[in-house]
């Protein structure tokens, strides 16, 4: 089923954070703790789904020349909803996430998916793609957040794992830690992908021939 393929696409093969390298700003800014990364990811997922649904619904009504401003205003509307929702029900996290919630409006992932997918595809596929991308983004952020929180605070999702003997890695709490962790993670994923490609290629060719 092609919708399933669209969904799985965003989770690994075209993961927005590790592969397409989009949406860097929130990925680095709010991942000092896993819970913040999770909240940001879910908020983005909500905006992706809602905008994707809306854009896909009215995709044949929007004149091509003004589609970008239309998409942006649609996205901004749902971001406003997400922002107010978080401010009302999760004020503590909302405070931590700060301006990065409204900055979801200019998160290139969302506009990119509207332009490349939801604007041209039926509702089912658009929703699948939105969900896949959103989920891919979320797990990337949770991973990043978990690593930084573990090394920086000795905890994950607030649960203290390392005792007070652990000298907390301060650099992980700072912007620097975010940049370096993400850089190394992407490098790691590159290695994994290359090895998988080589293994698949060797299986095909049968051993000695270079890929």
């Amino acid at each position: 089923m092609s919708a399933l393929k669209d969904l799985l696409n965003g989770i690994w093969k075209q993961n927005p954070t590790f592969r397409i390298i989009l949406g860097m700003c929130p990925a680095l800014a709010v991942t000092n703790a896993a819970i913040n990364g999770l909240t940001m990811g879910l908020a983005t997922l909500f905006v992706l789904l809602a905008s994707g649904l809306f854009v896909s619904l009215i995709r044949n009504l929007i004149p091509s020349k003004i589609r970008i401003p239309c998409y942006i205003v649609i996205i901004a509307t749902f971001v406003t909803i997400a922002d107010y929702f978080l401010a009302a029900y999760y004020p503590a996290i909302h405070e931590v996430l700060g301006i990065y919630v409204p900055l979801i409006v200019v998160n290139c992932i969302i506009l990119g998916r509207m332009e490349a997918f939801a604007g041209k595809n039926p509702i089912k596929n658009s929703l699948a793609d939105a969900f896949g991308m959103g989920f891919g983004f979320t797990w990337a952020l949770v991973l990043l957040g978990a690593i930084r929180e573990f090394l920086g605070f000795g905890a994950i999702f607030g649960f203290k794992i390392l005792g007070s003997w652990y000298p907390q890695m301060v650099v992980m709490k700072l912007p620097t830690g975010a940049f370096i962790t993400l850089g190394l993670l992407i490098a790691l994923m590159n290695i994994v992908r290359k090895q998988r490609a080589e293994a698949a290629c060797h299986a095909h060719e049968g051993g000695d021939k270079p890929c």
Binding site: I66, P69, V73, E115, A116
Partner: protein
């Protein structure tokens, strides 16, 4: 109810003003294009990613017509787009 009305009105007025300004701008800053150029632009992904080495998809199409770029150069479009461009050029 008042606030909903006010909000809708403000957005509508803002959009209208910007639409007017941009419509005026598109007339004033208009540039004439050849027909093949437009055909090529139509088959490009239009993401303006710059991976072909040109500022935007329009510039890439123009460069193809001027002979400064090859039809295979669009990275995002790949083989599919390259084939389409080749067809247009050979018409």
């Amino acid at each position: 109810m008042n606030r909903i009305l006010a909000a809708a009105l403000v957005m509508a007025i803002l959009s209208f003003i910007f639409a007017l300004i941009l419509a005026w701008a598109s007339k004033k800053f208009k540039i004439i294009e050849s027909s093949k150029l437009i055909e090529i632009v139509k088959v490009l992904p239009k993401q303006n990613c710059g991976k072909c080495g040109f500022p935007n998809c329009g510039a890439f199409a123009k460069a193809i017509i001027e002979g400064k770029a090859k039809y295979k150069d669009c990275v995002v479009g790949g083989e599919e787009v390259a084939k389409k461009i080749k067809e247009i050029l050979e018409k």
